[in-house]
């Protein structure tokens, strides 16, 4: 009850303080983006602007609709909230406009490292960073005298001990659902072993390598300590397993860490036992087996200059430094906004950045590679084929789609 009251009052203070901030626009603003707490905050921040209509369509299916919704003349969406993975589709189709003029005119509060520049032109404004890192149960590790894993090899050894102790039957968790999630885990591991997806600066695939084989084998070893249904578990399902106390160590998104154990029905054991640490390395490498992401917003190309200006003003208003005055908002993400002081929940992502984790490549053909990996890797995880065969299948599948899309 007390907590509820405090929440209620912070909300009121937040509302009062934000309405004091004037934001007026003169043309429509229409936003499309993913749906998680930090992005919802941005969406409602844009809606505070008065003078014209602001709408936000925030959905997990945003990638399926943003290209189509920004291709018409005029575009339905004046802004798309994207990540370094999903901005590529908008860039490939030439659907977003350079923001240099607008940044000069209205973007005084933005920090330089928030500006995503491509070929010298500002194409997006980032507001948060994200990465996958270790999430674990400190109570279980302590009970068994296990140090916090720093490498995937440590994680395997810890998993073995935990299973042998009988505390947790399938101690390792991971978003290994066939498709995007599984491919992302492969990317992490592949980069951790020092692999690079493409030959030089070309679109030629390069996953059929020593690093690829090692990455697949490590994933297979980890999967033996997972729930047998792991190929159907996305990050939501993996988090649910953690909340239920069925998982003791996992590689999970930083953006989920803050609210991971806030749900109803989570036992005190899990709530107090949960802790986070930086991403793990693998195979003696220095680069963490993880990838860095940013989330940011863009402005559509096929809209009038008035609409673009209004959109820029509204979106800048949504990520102004004062939104961090609210404790709940501050906790939602690792914000790149001026004046952000990291919370406890941000330690993992900060460690990832400090350890020079590789950012997800913003290449026009990276998405094709990602989806080829997601499609082909499940056969290996089920033991149906060898690592070499899977890797050559990935390259073949990628080549077929890259030829179709005109990259090879």
């Amino acid at each position: 009850m007390k907590l509820l009251l405090t929440k209620f009052f912070t909300a009121i203070i937040f509302l009062v303080s934000s309405s004091a901030f004037a934001c007026s626009i003169s043309a429509r603003v229409s936003i499309v983006g993913n749906e998680f707490p930090a992005i919802q905050t941005v969406g409602s921040g844009a809606k505070e602007c008065k003078g014209a209509k602001v709408t936000a369509n925030l959905t997990a299916d945003h990638q399926k609709i943003n290209v189509a919704g920004m291709s018409s003349q005029p575009a339905e969406y004046t802004s798309a909230i994207v990540a370094n993975t999903s901005i590529v589709a908008l860039l490939n189709n030439d659907l977003i406009r350079p923001l240099d003029d607008l940044v000069k005119k209205h973007g005084k509060g933005l920090k330089k490292n928030q500006l995503i520049t491509i070929d010298g032109k500002i194409m997006a404004v980032a507001f948060m960073a994200n990465a996958q890192h270790l999430v674990y149960r400190k109570d279980i590790l302590k009970k068994l005298n296990i140090d916090v894993p720093k490498t995937y090899e440590d994680m395997l050894a810890a998993a073995k001990k935990i299973r042998a102790s009988g505390l947790v039957k399938n101690p390792v968790g991971g978003a290994y659902k066939a498709g995007w999630n599984l491919a992302q885990e492969f990317n992490n591991m592949f980069i951790g072993y020092g692999g690079s997806h493409f030959k030089g600066n070309s679109a030629e695939p390069n996953v059929n390598s020593d690093a690829g084989i090692k990455a697949l084998k490590m994933m297979k070893s980890l999967s033996q300590y997972m729930n047998p249904d792991f190929l159907t578990h996305d990050s939501n399902a993996t988090n649910a397993e953690f909340r239920a106390g069925n998982v003791a160590i996992m590689n999970m998104w930083g953006s989920r860490a803050a609210t991971l154990v806030d749900a109803d029905g989570v036992s005190m054991e899990v709530k107090n036992g949960m802790d986070i640490a930086g991403p793990m390395t693998v195979g003696g490498g220095k680069t963490p087996a993880s990838t860095l992401f940013w989330d940011g917003w863009t402005v559509a190309k096929k809209i009038s200059d008035e609409e673009a200006e209004a959109t820029f003003i509204a979106m800048t208003n949504a990520i102004r430094p004062s939104i961090l005055d609210n404790e709940d908002v501050r906790k939602q993400a690792v914000w790149l906004i001026e004046g952000y002081k990291p919370t406890e929940a941000a330690r993992g992502v900060f460690a990832a950045a400090k350890m020079n984790t590789t950012p997800y490549p913003m290449l026009p053909y990276a998405g094709l590679m990602h989806s080829a990996i997601g499609k082909e890797i499940a056969d290996f995880m089920q033991g149906k084929e060898t690592a070499e065969k899977t890797l050559s299948d990935i390259e073949d599948a990628y080549k077929a789609s890259a030829k179709e899309k005109g990259f090879l």
């Binding site: 490939n92 030439d94 010298g120 950012p359 026009p364 179709e404 005109g406």
Partner: protein
């Protein structure tokens, strides 16, 4: 019916079919023969919160003229039909030369996405359709013979699986068969194997999908057959009873021939429906074990990659698949029609 009357009668339907079926299919065919232009790639410097880096990007200025000149893209003929994502002629030929017998040949080509999807789709279609026909008929016969007061209630409950949206139905079942769900737990107890999981093996996933397919499709065949049973010729049944035919003989010799046209109709509808199996694969998160042509189309269209030409090609291949499946049934219908005339 006079030809003129028939013409005016059919015109609205014909127009609607032309605009909403024929034209879209033609556009899909055209799309499947074209691909996007080759991208002119340049190296540029990108900066993000994590630093600056030289990366490859698309030169939009250079590609724009090409796009304006030929908005449809490059004409590539049947290239996409033959590539690895679809019919994969090259790989199939290669596998054929490499494999010694048919079994190893099929196991090799079942690794190619299109054939993998076809194998599951056909297995699904040819198990679900007959099981559903038989069970639907049995339920219809059963319901037809119970007393009137109960009938309404029983019919309502028998129709429930069809009322539930396929996606919702499969998600509900997905959680029930989870190793921690009620069905999953029960199976673990029954087999005395705490690691038993319906979702972890391909074989069991296929069984689950087929059981779901039958469960979802039975109400349709049941209600059609039940309606057919209301028109049974009473005198024929009575004379058969007088001749000493038992229930089984009556069913085989009178009831089934009587509702044969309905059986053909249900088969036709279900072959089409089952061939484009899609929702259960999504609902059961079964992508790792089972894919279908519709799932491939969905996967190509979704996400960041949007392979429109690949999706168009898969759509055309699905249409061909349905035509091939339906040919026997259509020939049969045509013959019956001629015979009656």
């Amino acid at each position: 019916m006079k030809h003129k009357t028939f013409f005016w009668f059919i015109l609205p339907t014909f127009l609607a079919m032309f605009f909403f079926i024929t034209l879209p299919i033609i556009s899909v065919v055209i799309q499947s023969l074209h691909t996007p232009h080759e991208n002119i790639l340049i190296t540029v410097e990108n900066c993000d919160p994590f630093g600056c880096k030289k990366v490859t990007s698309i030169d939009h200025e250079a590609t724009r003229d090409l796009k304006n000149e030929k908005p449809l893209g490059r004409f590539v003929g049947l290239d996409i039909y033959l590539d690895r994502g679809h019919l994969a002629f090259e790989q199939v030929k290669d596998h054929w030369n490499k494999s010694r017998d048919l079994v190893s040949f099929f196991s090799l080509i079942s690794d190619l996405p299109f054939y993998k999807a076809i194998f599951f789709t056909l297995t699904f279609t040819f198990t679900v359709t007959p099981i559903m026909l038989v069970l639907g008929l049995l339920i219809a016969l059963g319901v037809n013979s119970i007393n009137k007061q109960l009938k309404g209630l029983i019919i309502f409950f028998s129709l429930l699986p069809m009322i539930v949206t396929p996606l919702i139905g499969s998600i509900i079942l997905f959680w029930m068969i989870d190793s921690r769900g009620i069905v999953g737990n029960f199976l673990q107890l029954m087999f005395e194997d705490p690691n038993f999981s319906l979702k972890a093996s391909t074989f069991l996933t296929w069984i689950t999908l087929i059981v779901y397919g039958v469960w979802h499709a039975i109400p349709f065949s049941f209600i059609v057959f039940y309606a057919g049973l209301q028109t049974l010729p009473k005198d024929q049944i009575e004379s058969a009873q007088i001749d000493g035919a038992n229930t089984f003989q009556q069913t085989i010799h009178i009831i089934i021939p009587h509702i044969m046209p309905l059986i053909t109709f249900v088969t036709l509808m279900q072959l089409m429906d089952n061939f484009r199996v899609f929702e259960p694969i999504i609902g059961f998160n079964a992508e790792a074990h089972a894919t279908s042509l519709s799932w491939i189309i969905f996967n190509d269209l979704g996400g960041e990659t949007r392979q429109l030409s690949a999706a168009a090609t898969s759509s055309i291949l699905t249409i061909f698949g349905i035509i091939i499946l339906l040919i026997p049934v259509l020939i049969k219908t045509w013959k019956e029609f001629d015979f009656k005339k």
